[in-house]
């Protein structure tokens, strides 16, 4: 048995004690990572949950993520609070979804003088955010991952990891369904029916029948990420969301086990994430109006490969396996590249002061990032509890999730 066996074979039963069911029915629109975690959180708190997703689960932004499980180091200088939250969430996810995470740590690499000057600021910001970053000699970092540029000026170890951007959220879906949530993929929410100034039902259209169904509910949450604008408009709500696609390139060959990042302020092409037999360089960022069909920008590919070579020489000589793009759901509005917008998330109540009258009973979750999906769900579920006067606390930190395989194995239709 290899020494790592303790990491590999921990086994769990997903068997949380059932909370007393309350009578409230919540309809979650959006089957990405946030919707998955929210359906699970609400189910644990005893709500009756129906989740609607127009396509396959995780087919929007979620599944296309490069898979970096952020320690928060990337954000430490710019936003201490987000960095701390990432660290907290990464520890929770490593505990509750161990089979969906390749946890091997990460190295931030200072390539040039500017990067090297940035290192002390970076390390102290990480420590202040509770991220145990530590500078190590370049020779030591290269002993772990010889692919790191030998000309690197400085190297910093951080507790970054990689996760499976599909299997992590699918584990939440498996948990939600085990608790009785109705997960309806290929079923589009086409309208919100407002009765007496309050969202009373969502009209759902399954692609298989094309016949509209009325999903009666006491509360609606839009967890539609980059699509929050169009879903909000269905209910007369103007969600401040900026879809910001980025291109990623996967090359063949697992160049490292550790996640390699550029030791510099967040920018384009600053991260290499291993994934099975591939290595992914990400990302770029631009801003679009329509998050549907974000195809990769071809100019980005050459740029990304060049940036990757600076971190790991030889990256670009590997064969390109795939090029794709995903739309980040940035909270706020931006006309530039969107880098000025925070990666924070917020729950917007449609009935908040200044909002459209007659739109109670619905909220939109905007912003955020994959690593904090559980925290986003907790905040949204807290909001639902408050709106409906339910006193159940969040318990999603407590249980190891079932396997994503359960979701499909149990899908017997």
């Amino acid at each position: 048995m290899p020494a790592a066996s303790g990491v590999l074979y921990t086994r769990f039963m997903f068997d949380p004690p059932i909370t007393t069911r309350n009578r409230a029915r919540v309809c979650v629109i959006g089957g990405g990572g946030t919707g998955a975690a929210l359906a699970y959180d609400l189910s644990l708190r005893g709500f009756s949950v129906t989740l609607l997703e127009k396509g396959e689960l995780t087919s929007g932004t979620t599944g296309r993520h490069h898979g970096q499980l952020h320690s928060g180091a990337r954000y430490a200088v710019g936003d201490r609070a987000i960095a701390s939250e990432c660290m907290e969430e990464t520890l929770i996810l490593r505990r509750i979804a161990p089979e969906a995470i390749e946890y091997n740590g990460g190295v931030f690499v200072a390539v040039d003088d500017d990067d090297a000057d940035y290192a002390p600021v970076f390390v102290s910001a990480c420590l202040e955010a509770g991220i145990p970053a530590r500078e190590v000699p370049v020779s030591e970092a290269r002993s772990w991952e010889p692919v790191i540029n030998p000309a690197a000026r400085r190297t910093v170890w951080v507790p970054d990891g990689a996760f499976d951007a599909f299997r992590m959220p699918m584990s939440f879906f498996a948990a939600a369904r085990r608790l009785g949530a109705g997960i309806r993929s290929f079923t589009e929410a086409v309208a919100v029916d407002v009765v007496a100034g309050r969202a009373a039902a969502v009209i759902a259209r399954p692609v298989s029948t094309g016949r509209d169904e009325r999903i009666e509910c006491d509360y609606v949450v839009s967890a539609t990420g980059a699509w929050a604008g169009s879903v909000g408009r269905m209910a007369g709500f103007d969600a401040p969301i900026t879809p910001a696609p980025g291109t990623m390139v996967a090359v063949r060959g697992r160049l490292s086990d550790m996640v390699l990042s550029r030791l510099s302020p967040p920018g384009d092409g600053d991260i290499i994430v291993p994934q099975r037999g591939l290595s992914i360089i990400g990302t770029t960022q631009r801003v679009v109006d329509d998050p549907d069909c974000v195809l990769p920008d071809d100019d980005d590919v050459e740029f990304l490969l060049k940036r990757a070579d600076e971190l790991a020489p030889g990256f670009s000589s590997r064969g390109v396996h795939a090029v794709w793009a995903a739309a980040r759901p940035l909270a706020g509005r931006s006309s530039g590249d969107g880098r000025s917008l925070s990666r924070d998330f917020m729950v917007l109540d449609h009935a908040a002061p200044g909002a459209v009258p007659g739109s109670a009973g619905m909220a939109t979750l905007i912003g955020g990032k994959a690593t904090v999906l559980r925290a986003m769900a907790e905040k949204a579920a807290d909001h639902v509890c408050e709106a409906l006067g339910v006193g159940e606390p969040c318990r999603t930190r407590e249980f190891v999730l079932p396997s994503w395989r359960d979701y499909y194995a149990e899908e017997t239709r």
């Binding site: 990491v7 074979y9 490593r94 991952e145 692609v207 037999g277 795939a322 149990e410 017997t412």
Partner: protein
């Protein structure tokens, strides 16, 4: 995007009907990119599954001109070049329509229940995978130093990586066996679990020895030929057979 566009006619299965789209695609555009573009352009495109767009999630498997493949890794350039028409068959020039466009037939994976269009419930591929089969494997250090001590990780820090199998169901769809059979994806998982966890080896061999275990496999090797991840399920089935032969008690 360099290179001349490639004229394609996509014929996408939708129940008894076929939706047809004539497009000129840049060589590097994938079948999935094409469907996404058609859908966002307002076209009524039959339903399809997709998630990661880079061959990692395993959702976008389909039969493309009769052979299982991931739509996200099949490019216009691939389709315009000679390809096998059956798993492992000789590469032949693509079939073209009267207008000279390459005909691309997209069918749902076989042996699965169709939701709509070419989207399926992939449960058949998952059903036989043993409960609790680990998805993490040791990542070979290959001469690299051990990972450094980690103040955030109480578990032993070894290098880990996911299993190569992305559970796409291509092997299951391609397998010609028609009698009860847990199938190539499940047997590959059974063998990996046997290799990784010696304490579970007897239980894994019992699964392999069952009447729906390795026995129905006719060594067609279609599974290994269509696997987009080079898992070679046929190899794992043979390794299970070898292990059963060495332990006669397990095959009783």
């Amino acid at each position: 995007m360099s290179g001349d566009r490639i004229p394609l006619t996509l014929r996408v299965r939708n129940g008894a009907a076929v939706a047809e789209f004539r497009i000129d695609a840049e060589p590097r555009r994938t079948v999935l990119d094409m469907l996404e573009r058609l859908r966002s352009g307002g076209g009524t495109v039959p339903a399809y599954r997709h998630s990661c767009h880079h061959g990692s999630c395993g959702t976008c498997g389909a039969r493309i001109n009769g052979v299982e493949a991931l739509m996200c890794l099949t490019s216009a350039s691939d389709l315009g070049s000679p390809r096998a028409r059956v798993p492992g068959g000789p590469a032949v020039e693509p079939e073209r329509g009267e207008d000279g466009s390459v005909i691309v037939e997209l069918e749902p994976l076989a042996k699965m229940t169709v939701i709509s269009g070419i989207a399926v419930y992939p449960g058949t591929a998952f059903a036989g995978i043993p409960a609790g089969a680990g998805y993490l494997a040791v990542s070979e250090p290959g001469g690299r130093a051990p990972l450094p001590p980690d103040p955030t990780e109480p578990r032993p820090a070894g290098r880990v990586r996911f299993e190569a199998c992305i559970e796409c169901g291509s092997c299951v769809s391609s397998c010609p066996v028609a009698v009860p059979f847990i199938g190539p994806a499940a047997l590959a998982a059974v063998n990996r679990e046997r290799e990784k966890r010696p304490e579970r080896a007897p239980a894994m061999l019992a699964l392999a020895a069952a009447s729906d275990g390795v026995e129905p496999c006719g060594r067609h090797l279609a599974c290994s030929r269509v696997c987009p991840q080079a898992v070679y399920p046929g190899k794992h089935i043979q390794l299970l057979r070898n292990a059963l032969a060495e332990e006669p008690s397990a095959s009783g």
